[in-house]
Symmetry: C3
Subunit: 494 residues, 3 copies
Amino acid sequence: MKNALLVLIFGVLVLNVDGGLAADIPVSEATAECLECHASIHPGIVADWQNSRHSKITPKQALAVDGPARKVSSKTVPDNLQSNTVGCAECHTLRPDAHAGTFEHNGHDIHVVVSPNDCATCHSSETGQYSKNLMSHAYDNLDANKLYHKLQLSINGRKEFKDGKIKFDPADEATKAETCYYCHGTRLKVSGTETRDTELAGELEFPVIEGWPNQGVGRINLDGSLGSCAACHTRHAFSIEMARKPYTCKECHVGPDVPAFKVYEASKHGNIYSAMNKSWDFNAVPWTIGKDFTAPTCAACHISLLVNTDEEVVSERTHQMNNRLPWRIFGLVYAHPHPRSPDTSVIRNKDGQPLPTSLDGEFAAQYLIDEKEMDTRRKTMQAACLNCHGTSWVKGQWQRFENTIRQTNAEILTATDMMRDIWQKGLADLKANPFDEAIEKKWTDTWQFYANTIRFASAMGCGGDYGVYADGRYQLTQALLEMNDWRVLHEKFR
Amino acid sequence: MKNALLVLIFGVLVLNVDGGLAADIPVSEATAECLECHASIHPGIVADWQNSRHSKITPKQALAVDGPARKVSSKTVPDNLQSNTVGCAECHTLRPDAHAGTFEHNGHDIHVVVSPNDCATCHSSETGQYSKNLMSHAYDNLDANKLYHKLQLSINGRKEFKDGKIKFDPADEATKAETCYYCHGTRLKVSGTETRDTELAGELEFPVIEGWPNQGVGRINLDGSLGSCAACHTRHAFSIEMARKPYTCKECHVGPDVPAFKVYEASKHGNIYSAMNKSWDFNAVPWTIGKDFTAPTCAACHISLLVNTDEEVVSERTHQMNNRLPWRIFGLVYAHPHPRSPDTSVIRNKDGQPLPTSLDGEFAAQYLIDEKEMDTRRKTMQAACLNCHGTSWVKGQWQRFENTIRQTNAEILTATDMMRDIWQKGLADLKANPFDEAIEKKWTDTWQFYANTIRFASAMGCGGDYGVYADGRYQLTQALLEMNDWRVLHEKFR
Amino acid sequence: MKNALLVLIFGVLVLNVDGGLAADIPVSEATAECLECHASIHPGIVADWQNSRHSKITPKQALAVDGPARKVSSKTVPDNLQSNTVGCAECHTLRPDAHAGTFEHNGHDIHVVVSPNDCATCHSSETGQYSKNLMSHAYDNLDANKLYHKLQLSINGRKEFKDGKIKFDPADEATKAETCYYCHGTRLKVSGTETRDTELAGELEFPVIEGWPNQGVGRINLDGSLGSCAACHTRHAFSIEMARKPYTCKECHVGPDVPAFKVYEASKHGNIYSAMNKSWDFNAVPWTIGKDFTAPTCAACHISLLVNTDEEVVSERTHQMNNRLPWRIFGLVYAHPHPRSPDTSVIRNKDGQPLPTSLDGEFAAQYLIDEKEMDTRRKTMQAACLNCHGTSWVKGQWQRFENTIRQTNAEILTATDMMRDIWQKGLADLKANPFDEAIEKKWTDTWQFYANTIRFASAMGCGGDYGVYADGRYQLTQALLEMNDWRVLHEKFR
């Protein structure tokens, strides 16, 4: 009876909002209760959900889809979740004991932060793949690396001018949460509870969560799981369209350290996307090359399930993402074969430093994938290229790209040789912190901005001057010349 | 008879152009005369107007609309304007005596530059609000501030290399009109008349207007009024859609000094906008959260009348804009509570300088809004946030934002302490012009580019590395280190 | 019989792919053979072609169009090409003897690289115009200029740190192909053949082409012709829409040296484009101002055939592009009247250097267009402006623009005077290479980045701070001050 009433109320609400919800898809009693208040309090959230696939199909219907169009990768879904839409309660009351932040809320055990382990209920393959993705370990890959702590301190630390020197003190938690850890993800922690006087239900108690809000790719959740699916599949809309468009990736990959979006947008692929995408189908699963889209977005090359017009699979869907990447072109401080493990904090170079290469450019090979795996990944990536480009085109592109990896590594060796000379002569102090002096920052520019930009430009077939005048070879050369200018002057007048 | 003929002619023209004009909306006789020539001479202007609401509705019809959908805020509109479309003549012959540039043109008293006081005929509330907006005073806020004159000279002034020094001479008017005053607005002035041989009407006389063309937000018009509605409501299309899209704001707010657009575009809100806006309704008034749009644009947070899906008002429309802004995060040289008066040229800090803060960071409190007003504005802004985000999310976001205001102000104090040390030691000259030496420009970078960028990133919940590597904390730290490097070297070898 | 079978097979393929091909447009036998394999191997290419006009109309039908809507400019087309779609074979088997790379492929003489001289079969006027465009000579305009070789070396050359100096070695071919020559175009050359084991046809022999892939505007093709139509009319889609949208131009003109796109996007024109273009008609030929579009894109001002709503021609279509440009605002090292000849390698300034101006700013007048031609071009451009702007607006805009050309040239003279002082005093070495020292790079910044950016901003009526804070006058002044700072210090402590 109560259920019927709630469904009735919700039906009215739905009509008020959008009408997008099919009348015959049942909403669970618990979700209907949520909606009773939240449709008024949080109309933006509810409207997003109503426009989402989660409100328009039951897991049972989704499980019945066979073949590449299937979106639910779990073989089964618990019975009690099969026959209703995937609504508020379905996710926010799942596995209550697993989440540190679970609290009683109008008769339900709610957790605010839905985690990849919740999503795994229906999307187990994606959760599994993602756990092998470097991104899922992005918190500790940064936070558990002592050298990167020094880098962080030299950027986000509080600076004071004292006794003629710049003194660095650690950044506070709020600053950390909106800098590195905005993308890498914060470590969430329940620090207590607070009582709030709510509009519709009077005084209620809520958990206080440190590190919140955050949707970083490697967020450490209150159930101990790693990552946030909402980083790309934005909250409550769960939109494939959004995840497939490059703006989603831009949030963390626009540059100047990882200028993927900037380069893409100026590349021929990006040009085609920008000019023509309004007529593409971003919701088709699988995604058919030439039919649904005519140039790749980030997702096409790195994630999506692609088929050709004969409906043959070109690339399997992956949320590991690096399984199409032989190289990691983000220099640390050199480009290098991709790490074997998603946990990069375990890596040590030959000098014992937590870096995938040594300062002289040698790869920490035992922690990196081998030639054979690199070749597998290269071929996996090229399989997509070959649908629109001839073999000689693809071969030419990859020869240039891998040549550029070698050449930029050589340029960074030149920069680093100069920097080591500066350290050895005592003109800068390597030991205390290799990143916290003006000349060290200029050296950092060479590999973190310019070499990276050059490699991203090369990887995407160029465009937009990112290989030359826009944080490219011009600026790399300029930085090398300025470093040497500084070196000569300070050696002369030390 | 003549009128009927003109309407007939115009009717034919309309069919040639677009067909968008409803047949039964009468065009005034005067406007029909304008169109007779200008539909051929200026087809772009006429087409824009024909697609606009102004050509499709009479003020009388607009006045009949009640409630939040009403677009005409004036209680009444003069009788003679009520029953025709708002065409060429309705605006360009309004208040002829008020405009210095009015000239006789084929039997009509025309003024080229339509001003906010003309628009106030129908849109009085918006004009009134806008007059309280800092933007409307943007001309004198810059031009009547002697310190900013020095800043202008040090940027736009003509530079000569003479006797081993860089010498600055004032910029010419044409340069001024396309630099600072392009956005701030020029001061318009009729300097004479000129005769031109026109294609359709032979020799005609026109006024010569100094400072024209310009659509800056604080333009000083020929009727003495301040501002240009066309800055955002672009000429003759008067498009709500255009004003609500972020590209309009970008013209003046892309950075690096006020990087609002750049940051927005890379934020989660900007990501949702870019990916999904093609299916949003940008013309609905009022603008319903979740139904018409699913993530805010600039206008949603700062200007538009927003309602929730229960049709309750979330935010009142305002053209004052700062009435949702507790802080002015554009550092001068520190971020500070918003000025009380739109005329900031009256502000004096404790040292008598025309700045909202002193060089040691103290607020010129008597000229700035107080805590209570700040809290009111904070809550007005948060009312919108809360439609899509829970209380703890919004609270967390604002705590970080206001922490970042404090932290960046502290960093700028560090930069300024160093700069004062440099001035005191005579390594640079504060008195002549605090902005015209290389080391002073580096100091300017720290607050005008980097601290501002960091604050805008924080305000919009981050995204795109603007808090760190893209004119953010990395560059702020780098500039501080380079300033000190310079200081040490020049103190040693003075 | 074979033909009928192939058409049948292709018919099936077509249905699988898109259905966009009209059933009654005949595909040639040769093209049908191509499609038999390539629809499976290269579905992206085939789908693009199927969506293109080339698959939907025969040259005969195209030749029958009279007046401004006509897209085929050649008076006649060879009989054997008239009655089928313009398919794979029509272009890739054209003029087999002319192309060095022609190879036997399943019974057909194929060439991979279709050239402007192939396209001239139907589009002779465009090919002819384009050959007068500087772009078509972009390869040798760079490669045959000894001074620019030094510039290239100082940017893309391999740098070593040896004996306390930075030593430059020439870049390898792969690096050259993805830097300057990515946009300028590579010189293609057949270096041999290779045998590949193909999926559908076993072992086949293919030519190996040096410099491939490339779509640069001045590519030297295997038939000796210059340019690549695909630079803008992207491969196989041949889309007018794409060529008319600004993203295409962005690939080479985003900056910081030629920041046309960046400036456009932030200008009022760009704002209108970004906000409103979804409802414009990008495929209409001719392109009607006010009806098909309401603000210009790059193509509207520089290339397209524009008519007004009275169907009168406003601007003739041109692929010479510079015939609407009095000035070349890309400083070398000063802005100057446009070169007379598309081959700029012949230019010598009064000092015998291969530059359109001398170091003191004097134009190499005999190689540049004269005042009369400048005025013709100015008027050609203004004809488009005047459709949406009054005479006084356009006049004011151009006065500012040409004032800015003078002012920026004066600023660059200041920078160059300082640089010459530095060279004369032996603080830097002009002779070996004027571009390969830190102080020389800073001088290069002033003209190649900042003066250029200021001029592009002025040309497009400003927007986005590109005239001031975004690589504009602020940075130009800062660079001048830093140059002098360096000069004073190094003169004191040489």
